[in-house]
């Protein structure tokens, strides 16, 4: 459907379109069964960043307060890309892994299912 409007047309580009990121991308990650962290996290990163570097240097420090964080082996995690099963190559770049602007990644860490038996 479209907006009911007065005048000739009602058409605008997205405020968050990729061209406004100067070659970087804005994408999102959620660690399943760890709801201590209330929301999926938002990132801006260059497309040629190696995925492993991103995970070790940006993502892991963000989750430092969780007792599971130090034990996570990203290699063994089960991944989803836009809510569908997915297998990344951690030694390739974001771009080579097909990760683009506004993509949504989730991972589940086997054996580390959060706290209190309820995925906290």
């Amino acid at each position: 459907m479209t907006v009911t409007h007065l005048g000739e047309s009602y058409d605008f580009p997205s405020a968050n379109r990729e061209e406004r990121y100067g070659g970087d991308i804005n994408f999102y990650i959620q660690w399943e069964q760890h709801l201590l962290y209330a929301c999926p996290s938002a990132y801006r990163a260059p497309v040629d960043m190696v995925l492993r570097d991103f995970l070790e240097n940006m993502l892991r420090p963000d989750y430092a307060a969780h007792p599971d964080t130090a034990k996570v082996d990203f290699e063994k995690c089960e991944w989803k890309f836009d809510q569908k099963p997915w297998q990344p190559d951690l030694d390739k770049t974001l771009q080579e892994n097909g990760i683009g602007h506004m993509d949504y990644l989730q991972f589940r860490s086997p054996g580390l299912a959060g706290m209190h038996g309820v995925g906290n």
């Binding site: 405020a15 968050n16 959620q30 706290m115 309820v118």
Partner: protein, 509 residues
């Protein structure tokens, strides 16, 4: 000379509110009033508009000025008697702060919105009703600012609400709600604000805040609440009147109104999560739980109201059952969110005291005890170790309601709920099927939304690169206006003001 006959109320009302309009001749009527037709609402006879209050402008000014005199007399007394010392606890101020930062600007937005709607309707009855509500809303914004101004002298975080309102991530929630309504046509505006918000959901907004204020010794807020109450009942009646008027005028209006009710019920419900969290967490002395309020005001009264509208062909708003499924978790999930993003929040957060946790157990039962209580206790444990929990990574935010996506799946409270929607140039994320439906109905509108974390990453928040620089951009002082309540200046001042004898610690300095 014969004395002129005194007019009856009905005659007087008719003379003062009708026949004020005329058919334009220099320009066609449709050009003078372009907004009241383009939404597709068909009005056959504007004179069928009924004003149940039969209020004329002269009577309106008289009533309002009487209320004003009483209100300001009490506010004066409150200030002269250091009324801020009588609140239940300084934690209560978080409720006042979120009202000042988030809701008072909505009163002003409503003033603008009703002024615009009043200009847009060609029926004189509707115009008069909108004019009065527009003035009411301006008065509410002013009386709230005056009532709160005393607190601003003693508590932090209240110094720059207008600047914050246009920038802060958690204030874009109420701001975007109203701007969505104001940028729609006049019939959608009155359906959204007068009906969905004021009629269906206001009991969940105004009642808990004003009775919560009374319960927690806040005389200033209680007084403006009472002063606004008769206006609010007029607004509620206008809301019901406008919906019935549209539905009775033409059957083609029914599907349009239904779509608006679906949209605005959901947007209103999402916004009220902030109020629910205020009721459950920010009031040191609790009035009722969000769950109880939802059951009373929606599951009983709200659903009964929609059943009354069934004779016009109106059904219950879409996704209302999801809102009901969320009643046991909403405020706990949102408080955990405010707590962890506290470094960019202009009010304090904390882990509730033990007796409050017991109150939650009583009101929310097993779901609280198994899921949310252990989380709160873990926050407490970290805090006691000197490692108060903050999440400093910016969150994913819903493209429609602009709330950070903390929600969980309706049927699985342990798994995050995200909906991916697409426009022609990029993807977007929504918090629910309700918001995804709203997006998909008018994608060109919502793609324009200024989503705060995205704004930061694009370098459009004065170049802020992290949550601390972002707080500065909001004019918030870290550790004073933001974050943990314990040992904040508000907390220390409160203790100093209430210390029976001066203590020897450096806090008293």
């Amino acid at each position: 000379m014969a004395k002129a006959r005194k007019l009856g109320l009905k005659e007087r009302y008719a003379l003062l509110t009708r026949g004020l309009d005329w058919e334009t001749t220099y320009q066609p009527m449709d050009k003078v009033f372009p907004y009241d037709t383009y939404e597709g609402i068909k009005i056959v006879d504007w004179d069928k508009w009924e004003d149940p209050f039969r209020l004329t402008m002269d009577a309106y000014w008289k009533y309002q000025s009487e209320k004003e005199r009483k209100l300001y007399a009490i506010l004066d007394a409150f200030q002269q008697n250091n009324g801020h010392l009588n609140i239940s606890d300084a934690r209560y101020m978080s409720a006042v702060k979120i009202w000042l930062q988030g809701i008072t600007p909505l009163e002003y937005a409503a003033h603008r919105g009703f002024a615009h709607a009043g200009r847009s309707f060609r029926g004189a009855g509707a115009r008069v009703a909108c004019q009065m509500q527009s003035i009411d809303e301006l008065r509410h914004a002013q009386t709230q600012l005056h009532a709160f101004s005393h607190y601003n002298k003693y508590f932090s975080g209240m110094h720059n609400f207008a600047h914050m309102r246009d920038r802060a991530w958690y204030l874009s929630i109420p701001k975007s709600f109203f701007e969505d309504a104001m940028s729609a046509g006049p019939f959608e505006f009155v359906t959204s604000i007068s009906f969905a918000f004021e009629y269906v959901l206001t009991n969940l907004l105004f009642m808990p805040f004003v009775s919560g204020a009374a319960f927690n010794g806040d005389m200033a807020t209680t007084t403006f609440g009472f002063s606004a109450q008769s206006d609010e009942s007029r607004h509620m009646t206008l809301g019901l009147e406008v919906v019935k008027f549209m539905l009775e005028q033409h059957e083609d209006n029914v599907p349009i109104v239904q779509a608006w009710l679906d949209k605005w019920f959901w947007r209103g419900y999402r916004l009220l999560g902030l109020v629910g969290t205020m009721m459950d967490y920010m009031l040191p002395k609790k009035v009722m739980s969000w769950k109880e309020a939802w059951e009373m005001y929606w599951e009983e009264n709200g659903i009964a109201l929609f059943n009354d509208l069934a004779r016009y062909g109106i059904r219950l708003p879409k996704h209302h059952e999801v809102a009901t499924k969320e009643k046991g978790r909403l405020t706990h999930e949102l408080w955990a969110t405010l707590y962890q993003y506290g470094n960019a929040l202009g009010l304090h957060t904390w882990v509730p005291e033990d007796e409050e946790l017991d109150w939650f157990s009583e009101k929310y039962g097993e779901q609280f005890d198994t899921m949310y209580k252990p989380r709160l206790l873990y926050f407490r444990e970290l805090e006691e170790k000197g490692e108060r929990f903050y999440n400093n990574r910016l969150p994913m935010v819903c493209q429609v309601c602009q709330i950070p996506i903390f929600y969980t799946e309706p049927d699985d409270p342990q798994s995050q709920c995200v909906r991916i929607v697409e426009s022609k140039d990029t993807k977007h994320h929504c918090c629910s099927d309700g918001c995804a439906d709203i997006f998909n109905r008018e994608p060109e509108k919502y793609v324009q939304a200024l989503i705060p974390p995205q704004q930061v990453y694009r370098g459009e928040a004065d170049g802020a690169r992290d949550i601390f620089e972002y707080a500065k951009y909001l004019h918030l002082e870290s550790g004073v206006d933001t974050g943990e309540y314990r040992n904040s200046p508000d907390h220390k001042n409160w203790q100093a003001w209430h210390a029976a004898t001066p203590d020897n610690s450096d806090e008293a300095a």
